[in-house]
């Protein structure tokens, strides 16, 4: 399920996916795409697709937005999620999410784009991905 494409498209490019990079030289992980590893400097870190599972690290419910496009969605919950793969990312999520909750991603429209949106993982259905 991971690393099957050279540069898999992710949500920042309109695809329903979260992509991160893994350094073959030092094992470092990074979420913000670069042509090198920010830990050791090695070139061409491997692009991998994340499972979409993670744990809530922090939340903030935005009630005052700054543009007409985002104001239409108020309130929306901004979350930081520690992914199962080991990197941290910003996303949207259900309003009732609490720090430590296990969550799974889906993708929803927001202000004219597709953004990652996390909800609590259903406890049944053992190992989905």
């Amino acid at each position: 399920m991971s690393g099957d494409a050279r540069r898999p498209a992710d949500w920042t490019a309109g695809a329903e996916a979260i992509v991160y990079q893994s350094c073959a030289a030092c094992g470092g992980l990074q979420y913000f795409r670069r042509s090198f590893c920010a830990v050791c400097g090695a070139a061409d870190p491997v692009e991998k697709r994340a499972s979409g599972a993670g744990t809530v690290y922090a939340t903030s419910l935005v009630c005052r937005a700054a543009t007409p496009e985002t104001r239409a969605h108020v309130p929306y919950n901004i979350v930081l999620v520690d992914t199962a793969e080991g990197f941290r990312m910003m996303a949207h999520g259900d309003h009732d999410l609490a720090i430590g909750d296990h969550v799974t991603v889906r993708f929803v429209p927001f202000a004219g784009r597709l953004v990652p949106y996390f909800a609590k993982t259903k406890s049944s259905g053992a190992s989905g991905t």
Binding site: A58, L61, P75
Partner: protein, 378 residues
Amino acid sequence: MSFITGVGLTAFGRHEGSSSLDLMSKAAELAIADAGLKRAEIDGILCGYSTVAPHIMLATVFAEHFGIRPAYAHAVQVGGATGLAMTMLAHHLVEAGVAKHVLVVGGENRLTGQSRDASILALAQVGHPDYEVPLGPTIPAYYGLVASRYMHEYGVTQEDLAEFAVLMRRHALTHPGAQFHEAITVADVMASKPVALPLKLLDCCPVSDGGAALVVSREVTSEIGVRVRGCAQAHTHQHVTAAPALSELGAEIAIARAKANAGVAISDVRYAAVYDSFTITLAMLLEDLGLAGRGEAAARVRGGHFNRDGAMPLNTHGGLLSYGHCGVGGAMAHLVETHLQMTGRAGNRQVRDASIALLHGDGGVLSSHVSMFLERVR
């Protein structure tokens, strides 16, 4: 050695019709006069930025406007840490003999020069353009995220955070230049409009017009000297997504370096000037700097520890939260107030003893940090 020889500060709030250059000029004029200098004696200029009037050469624009031809001039940009970063650079420039009198200036008509939405939008751009900004976060949301985590880890409550807003407002009531003059209570903070929960309107600093300036010189120009005893920086990340664990944030690194550089311990400090863009910022920084134990800063506020007549007077002008925040000049007001306290000129706000002061600035989302110790010398 270097000394802060003069300071200048405008009132914060609405300055209808004043440009960023007008506000910078007003503060600069005050600081130069306070130092007992003439414009022509200023041979270095450091200035910040203006989100209302961005320019690639703001220091030169200002120098021409103000009527100075300095031997050294450029702008500095480190967000909210800019004022202290400029002061640190001026200190080093003066020590290195590059300039004799460096004017450090910040000012912006951020409130009346653009819409509040434009301000919020401009500031939100400190977020990552691909991985954060498309999600519609605001500066309060970035700090709201940090607040939720800090509250979770250290058992801090929203009522605890509200104490800092109440304290800053109480201090602002005694300063005629402050933006806000109505007392508030914890209940008022709790009932204020939600902005980016857990942060509410009164947990957030306002947008202001205003200006602040200071002069850093090689020699004292009056009887009481305020010497830069030591300073240091730390830069751990830019984006909140890439921030280290709460236990590894830059404030602790910067203060450790500054203590070593200055040969000063926290127990020597008599006055504190700490960046307070949001209540959570102030709570965290006080604890990071060692001015309170983890999760204990709010209890110290309740106990009067940070009052004007308390053991560690803090931001006696009202801070960003209640004196106001005009961008670069915002945190420079902390330095101006510290100087007034150290030279016994703070009037009805005067504290008993401000012989050694600790200042701390933060830019971005707790990204860039500058810690500085000032010492009064005669």
